[in-house]
């Protein structure tokens, strides 16, 4: 019988710890598939965030570094400068990339570092128990915005991808979404594109991935996907930004 689906070489055989319906497992696999297809597993160095994906390096099968919360792009800047021939990417959540690490994010982008960023936006802090994130939607309830996000109190959802797209040092920004098989396929293309850009020395590339967090959205996995489509994509429209 022909084998049509197998584990990527860039994935380890460790079972993932993520909640049922979480998007991280899919996003990890997309990264691994892209690395495999580009044939660069042995030339890849990943930088994992602090957040739910903190042990992403356990699931990938290539060299990886941990970074302090928010500092992934500073760490990646240095790794890429030391090894300009390697594929260096960061994998970061919304709190990591767009709150505590906003400074590192904007300046790495503005320097035009030849890096790829996989930015997982699930509109909430997952690992710490579902607190308000920079990308939390107006009205969305979290453990630190118990009556829902209010613009008077918390400001607006931060559209970091649009901000980064305005910087001349940034080459490529695309927002994708894991709400459907079609969305996942588009996401895969975007991740691969971001890596390919780096291999072609084109500069800073970022893929924002709208990703479900059923646990802290208080929804079933299926309802969470629907919520991405019906609510989240209204605030964060998918498609090529730059």
């Amino acid at each position: 019988m022909e084998k049509i689906f197998k584990r990527c070489q860039s994935l380890s055989d460790l079972p993932m710890h993520y909640c049922p319906g979480c998007g991280h497992g899919i996003a990890h696999r997309l990264v691994a598939e892209a690395v495999d297809e580009l044939g660069v597993r042995e030339e890849t160095i990943g930088v994992a965030p602090v957040g739910c994906a903190v042990v992403a390096y356990d699931y990938w099968n290539f060299d990886c570094s941990e970074a302090a919360h928010g500092r992934a792009l500073a760490v990646a800047t240095a790794i890429k400068r030391v090894h300009p021939q390697k594929l260096v990417f960061t994998y970061q959540g919304d709190g990591d990339l767009a709150a505590i690490g906003t400074n590192e994010t904007i300046h790495a982008a503005n320097r035009g570092e030849n890096l790829s960023v996989i930015f997982i936006n699930n509109a909430v802090y997952g690992m710490t128990g579902g607190q308000l994130a920079p990308t939390t939607l107006l009205g969305q309830k979290t453990s630190t915005s118990v009556d829902g996000r209010q613009k008077q109190l918390h400001g607006y959802p931060l559209k970091i991808s649009e901000i980064l797209a305005a910087l001349p040092g940034v080459y490529y920004v695309e927002r994708v979404s894991l709400e459907s098989p079609a969305g996942v396929l588009k996401a895969k293309r975007a991740v691969k594109q971001a890596f390919q850009n780096q291999l072609n020395n084109l500069g800073f590339s970022l893929v924002e991935v709208l990703s479900p967090c059923p646990t802290y959205w208080g929804l079933s996995p299926q309802a969470a996907l629907q919520w991405i489509k019906d609510v989240m994509q209204k605030e964060f429209p998918v498609g090529r930004i730059k």
């Binding site: 903190v54 240095a78 400074n103 300046h107």
Partner: protein, 353 residues
């Protein structure tokens, strides 16, 4: 041939001589000459820097600078950053991660007045922060405290070697006077050193299993094991890496204990008193962690110590721990830009005699 260099420039020159190939920093007085010197001499492929290509990055903050050093060290480079007190406080996050991930790096702190924004005057008030680890967790840095421009150059080279040997961050602890002062010094003509092969470094996993650089150990007992390994490493450092200078110790009735710039000022005072026949000695810790305890285990019956610092008494605690109550320990210190003068030290010693 001797050249006239400032302490800041000498540290930079020492780093270049040691084969430092990655520097990231953020401007802060009084160490700006250091970052400027690195910017001028690290740039790859310029006429100014023949030899291996090196990387210089001006970071967006000290937080980013130390994380860049972390990334470069993880990638196998000989990495360094420099700053001054408030900037070093910001770097504590990354320093703790360097220690936890067992990454070699050199961190320079040209201390200024604190707390808070303080001022830019020389100070030694970051001793606790430097020698106790500084950030969160059970860890230490090797801390080296040069007292002259020449020693700043020499110890910076030592720092890179120790960092690689023990996979540990090493701090060069100076102050505004040492950083700013110019003195004649000799450049050693030794060949540029290259870092040893680092099998653990991130280089892409061709022909081997993936390497992971991390300080996170969630599995039960995992962190305790990792921390015990750190402690073992610290024990071997304590055995092998004790550095101090002793002057007139054999017949001294009072031993002045001081480090860095304060030690050279104390030396001036001691030489003047020796000229007048007074039996004063000097004990200058060169390594602050590990702290040289043995030289304090004197059995002399009549012996007093005077600790002199540009702080209100930080190394004082280590001296008291080392003396273990056998002899009286007195203290003279100023802070916030005040520097005890030779005259003040002489006055105090005369009262103690």
């Amino acid at each position: 041939m001797k050249i006239l260099l400032s302490g800041n420039e000498a540290i930079a020159q020492g780093a270049l001589a040691a084969g430092c190939d990655f520097y990231a920093g953020y401007p802060i007085t009084p160490q700006n000459e250091l970052i400027a010197y690195m910017a001028k001499h690290m740039g790859a492929g310029t006429k100014r820097s023949p030899g291996p290509s090196r990387i210089f990055v001006q970071a967006e903050s000290e937080l980013a600078a130390i994380s860049m050093v972390y990334g470069a060290a993880a990638a196998g480079a000989r990495a360094m950053t420099s700053s001054s007190s408030p900037g070093i406080s910001l770097m504590q996050e990354g320093i703790s991660y360097l220690a936890g991930a067992r990454l070699p790096a050199v961190i320079v702190n040209i201390m200024r007045g604190g707390p808070g924004l303080g001022n830019i005057a020389p100070s030694q008030a970051d001793y606790f922060q430097a020698t106790r680890g500084g950030g969160h967790g059970d860890y230490h840095l090797i801390v080296l405290a040069p007292a002259s421009v020449q020693e700043a150059y020499d110890l910076t080279q030592t720092a890179f070697d120790l960092a690689d040997k023990y996979r540990i961050p090493v701090m060069i602890l100076g102050d505004g006077i040492l950083g700013q002062m110019m003195e004649p010094m000799q450049l050693s003509v030794q060949k540029i050193k290259t870092a040893p092969v680092k099998k653990w470094a991130l280089t892409g996993c061709r022909g081997r299993k993936p390497n992971i650089i991390k300080s996170f150990f969630m599995r039960e007992g995992g962190l305790e094991q990792a921390n015990l390994k750190l402690q073992q490493s610290y024990e071997s450092i304590k055995q092998a890496q004790i550095r101090f200078e002793g002057l007139f110790l054999s017949d001294a009735e009072i031993v002045v204990v001081a480090y860095g710039t304060m030690a050279r000022i104390a030396k001036g005072a001691i030489n003047r008193l020796r000229g007048a026949g007074k039996k004063i000695g000097l004990l200058r810790p060169i390594g602050l962690w590990p702290f040289p305890q043995k030289p304090f285990q004197s059995k002399a019956r009549r012996l007093k110590y005077l600790v002199v610092e540009m702080s209100y008494g930080q190394m004082l605690e280590d001296v008291r721990l080392a003396v273990e109550g056998r002899h009286p320990v007195e203290f003279l210190g100023r802070s916030g830009g005040g520097v005890p003068s030779e005259e003040e030290i002489i006055g105090r010693l005369q009262r103690m005699l």
